[in-house]
Amino acid sequence: MQHFQTLSYESVVRTHTQLVFRTAFGFVHSKEDAEDITQEVFIKVYQSWNTFRGDASVSTWIYRITVNASLSFVEQKQRRSFIEWTEDHLKQLFKTQNNVPTPIELMEEKERELAIRNAIDSLPDRQRIAFILTYYEELSQREIAAIMELTEGAVEQLKQRAKKELQKKLRTSVGNI
């Protein structure tokens, strides 16, 4: 772990853009939205660069900013009109793919994806954060605990609950566990 004072803003952007994008993607499931969040995160990083005390590692700090920015983005998006929401979901449902054999299979796959996405999105905030950092970022329990400012035991509990919750939600729509 490099100390933040020896890092330049440019090197931080180069090493962290991908992880910010991927984490944000886990929350919003859209490339455009994830890029918007990435932009927001780096504006914040740039503005707070001089005030960052270095209590945590730069990655932990950036993960925290990303998680908060993603959660508020999702919250704002949920307030959008029903029409926009329906439009997005229909677009997603009918998005064409080249290697899909039949339209029925395509529909089934899209419906399954939607069900998984909705199940992830409907998890309580803390469970969702633990889930995304575990499965999208493949972070260790210790790293997640540092980002969420929790104990490792609490993170483990959140992960287990998230897993159970997802299994429960997807039992009917996706299949038996």
């Binding site: 952007v13 886990g26 994830a34 740039y46 994806e113 998984i116 299994q167 997807l170 566990i177």
Partner: protein, 92 residues
């Protein structure tokens, strides 16, 4: 294990989506531009606040003058009377 498999597959698909190739470049340039813009906006806002405050002061000053000066009120009253006469004349 069916749903776990699907979840894993879904996550792998999402993880495979790469950001736009120019994203890093944008991240390097944008915050500086954003900061410049916000400084510009702050300066503009400050300029406008000064202008509004100045107009309010002028307004208060003129208002006080108007109330204090009977002649001005008379002139003002005459103007209103003339205007009323002119407009009503048009209707008659």
């Amino acid at each position: 294990m069916k749903s776990e498999h699907y979840i894993q597959h879904y996550i792998e698909q999402e993880k495979a989506i790469a950001p736009s190739p120019d994203l890093i470049q944008r991240m390097l340039v944008l915050p500086q531009e954003q900061t410049k813009t916000s400084v510009m906006l702050r300066n503009q806002l400050f300029g406008w606040s000064i202008a509004v405050a100045a107009s309010m002061l002028v307004g208060i000053f003129l208002g006080n003058k108007l109330v204090a000066n009977d002649e001005l009120i008379l002139v003002n009253d005459n103007l209103i009377e003339n205007f009323t006469a002119l407009t009503t004349y048009g209707y008659e």
